[in-house]
Symmetry: C3
């Protein structure tokens, strides 16, 4: 009656193998798969603009450790997967990012997995895509509607053409021990459909929705704030887009649409999303929106892939030249936090960004971004800043080391 369960607990591994710059350990039957993925992102920026209305330009030039990541990941005897991911941005202490466990099912349900811990809630494709794979240094409409990773529990289905996830997410990992309210939990769902998924030819369509109450101990308030797709000089007091605190909030809903395609060296992608606040006592319900469209082109001919298990575009295939690959990119983004009918004027910001990426290898990358920022008169940091138009140049060195 006794079953031999030793293989679940032990295995002799193959020699270590570098794959895509990452050192991987695997056993001969691929039941165990263990790797680490450490990364460094160094950024620098120069801001230029007519700040004659301001004593000094509120964004000063400088350099910054954008991310210093330590990551350990493992597939443990086939079904279980775990991630530990810590980040030391800006010289701050190492704090958790991804910290989760997943269980893949077998047999009839082998297309499902369940995931628990700290991870990104199901939102748009740009937010879900790893920072090492996004086209520009920062995401379009960076961090305004989505608040990062959260404590959550989600069920995911995927096959080569469909990806669907539904789950519940609480608050951010450093938010706990609430004294007045229980932790706030919201619900998200996302579906991605990939009707065409061939080599160098991909079409992706996605949609997502979410409903969340305000965070615990926050007195039923919600505030949206935004950076200009640049972080080097953007501290909390320098966010021009800012709705201020919106009071008496029951909950807020978010909806998003995604479109993306790969045609050989070209990739085109766009998203549109809304943020809708539902308030108590017949108070007006403001709605905001954000969107972007971007195109990138490998002049060296490479083409991006697709991750079926994540419903996202992946890395490009191997560079065709030993010295690396070069990509040009263009993005237009707009975020409108003005809702005149509801009396909330958080500002309207348009950004056009030109990008040049040089990939020395698939895991060593240099970014060059030049952006033109237009702010309307309401983009005044909830009254603390004077809006103006400016440009900036920012650059990044990114390396993934084993």
């Amino acid at each position: 009656r006794q079953v031999d369960t030793t293989k679940i607990h032990s295995a002799i591994m193959n020699p270590g193998e570098v794959r895509e710059g990452i050192l991987v350990y695997e056993d001969p039957s691929s039941d165990w798969y263990i790797w680490s993925d450490h990364r460094i992102y160094w950024d620098a920026a120069v801001y230029m603009g007519d700040n004659s209305n301001q004593e000094t330009l509120p964004m000063t030039n400088g350099a910054m450790l954008r991310r210093g990541i330590i990551q350990f990941k493992a597939t443990m005897y086939r079904d279980w997967e775990a991630y530990i991911d810590l980040n030391a941005s800006q010289g701050d202490a190492l704090t958790p990012r991804d910290m989760w466990v997943a269980r893949h099912f077998r047999g009839d349900f082998h297309n499902f997995f369940i995931q628990a811990g700290n991870f990104k809630e199901a939102t748009g494709i740009e937010r879900l895509t790893s920072s090492r794979l996004i086209t520009f240094m920062e995401r379009g409409g960076d961090g305004i509607f989505e608040d990062g990773r959260r404590k959550g529990l989600a069920l995911t289905y995927f096959n080569p053409h469909i990806w669907a996830q539904a789950g519940t997410w609480g608050q951010e990992i450093d938010q706990r021990r609430f004294t007045q309210d229980n932790e706030a939990w919201g619900f998200n769902g996302r579906v991605a459909y990939t009707p065409i998924r061939q080599d160098r030819r991909i079409v992706h369509i996605g949609a997502w929705a979410s409903v969340r109450p305000p965070d615990a101990d926050n007195n039923s308030r919600v505030r949206l704030r935004g950076r200009p797709e640049s972080r080097i000089a953007s501290n909390d007091s320098q966010r021009f887009l800012n709705t201020g605190q919106i009071s008496d909030v029951n909950n807020y809903t978010r909806y998003g649409l995604e479109l993306g395609t790969v045609l050989g060296p070209l990739q085109v992608q766009g998203e549109y999303k809304t943020f809708n606040v539902n308030r108590k006592n017949d108070l007006p319900n403001p709605s905001f929106w954000s969107g972007y469209v971007k195109a990138s082109y490998f002049i060296t001919g490479e083409s991006r892939g697709y991750f079926a298990d994540e419903g996202e575009f992946g890395n490009f295939d191997h560079p065709r030249n030993s010295w690396g690959a070069v990509q040009l990119a263009l993005r237009y983004s707009r975020t409108n936090l003005n809702d005149e009918s509801a009396g909330i004027m958080g500002g309207d910001q348009e950004i056009i960004t030109l990008g040049l990426n040089y990939f020395a290898t698939r895991y060593i990358r240099f970014y060059f971004n030049y952006a033109f920022v237009r702010s309307d008169e309401n983009a005044n940091g909830a009254g603390s800043l004077i809006p103006f138009n400016y440009t900036y140049f920012q650059t990044r060195m990114m390396v993934r080391l084993p």
Copy 2:
């Protein structure tokens, strides 16, 4: 005359091996043994009770990263052993836990090792047992008499039936740079005797003692505070058990007794300990006590082992079923911080906990704890809370990844 000492410095390692879910490197002669032991503990809790005397239940429901551990360990050329262990609880930054070096002796003294650095002081078996091996989510009388790891220096003797440790421990690792007093150092000793230590049949008897002065720069004061064996919603202001600051302390002594046995799938364990404050100026000397008794039973038939070099119960043997092992558990604990004769009434707390553990493997574990908490009228957080009785349900997902 020149000795070949190269082997002390270099060795070719065997292929990596997964053992118990941990990736281990060893050289053919086992002189070097290197492994990492990363872990994730995710907790969630719901608190229920008649809090009609309170505006809101002072413990709110939520989820928490209880531990996010990065650990590197090595045996270095046989005699030397070193641990680096860092933890990112609750989304906070990664801070040190174990950080020590040990030297094992040879020849006549091969049963001895000396250890220096940051590690647990010699106290009771429950406190010394790794968090991944304790029966319930939190220890009985959790953290009230023992203050975690300390900077220390200890000598340990062990053979298959006896474990004995004596040492001196300073303050906690983040306490240094004292401006008024030198660092406070105390002394601890513990002896464990295992008259029966067979497969599936173990008897353990232990005793320990400690004397410590109050911490430096703390004005000769000592305070004991207690959580209800639950951490999710228990921040510093929500500890019902609380003696308040006890002034004019010369030193305090602690004594403990331990009993434990394994009989096949059954384990029974209990502890009793006292905390005795010695004060200056003929002030009254309060004494407090805490204890628990617990029983656990593997309904799938497994049995726990024993670590001779740590004087503690270890993990269970391999699960008998490929789908894992199931354990039922029951605990009664009581902590009495009232000493009427000394005029310190810190509260009296009794907790009965029902536990169910599901071990998917020996290193992936799910906990389900349901507890009944009874507080006396003095368990009022040193005057800041209204005592009441309540129950809670808490659950944990624990994974150890390579």
Copy 3:
């Protein structure tokens, strides 16, 4: 036309190998070289002196985690090198130290590499030498003129006898998001010449220079402060050497000279450096200086090596005895922050240190330092302390684990 670039991305590694206590992975063609270097430094100190003028000796005895280091390093397909280095001193959270990427050139320029990220600016040899290789527990004139690692970009040339580096360094890694000024960038250059570099016989001559503006958002001020080559009890308020804030600073220059030699078991090394403040508005320009000379001798006969690619002395060769190596050492250091003509009297401190090092192996080391500290009447912590002479004994256990 398509090039096979797969080798840049993947390689099968040799078995892991312990080298000098560090676990190293390398592929057969040595294109990839991956290792980690974790370390623990535990310190303890006792301070002794006539503090009759002070209520308590401002330095209290205790123990401290001086460094708890997690490091990951890799050479990635020959040309690229990356370091991630994090430190948890004193039980604080893990924060970044080295965090950089380097590119080595090929062909005619194979003696050059370019480096970007967070790393030490080019200053004197003692500061540049890894903490695990310095002779005493702390550097001579510890941390007074050099402010640690900075965000920088540098070009380095080296051959077996010449090392030269020029670069620009910004502010420290945790200093960013300046609200008034752009990040301050300075320039450093260093040249080291090694006319003799044989086995057990080395002569090193070096010189360096630097010019830097004051840090951003610091109102054009500069302050120098100093510890007595001991950290255990030296918090910010216990630095006897202290110039106070020097206002209206345009920039400051630093110049240094280095001499060092190895003659078998003997090493002798000395440095002299100046710190010169250039102020606005015809304010007086104070100058300060610091220097040390030290000698160390392996009574067990070992001899130190030299790192050509870093222009520094390296570790010693293999111990001649299986039980380890013993080194005696003596240092005299002086730091003079008094400039009477400029009206800045920051104090003058002389320290004589006796050292004994026991190396159990090349990567497990015990330090014993006994120091005599003489302070002049201006070494009063910018008015907050009463200067006096004292001695201290401090000891360290250092281990490098794989």
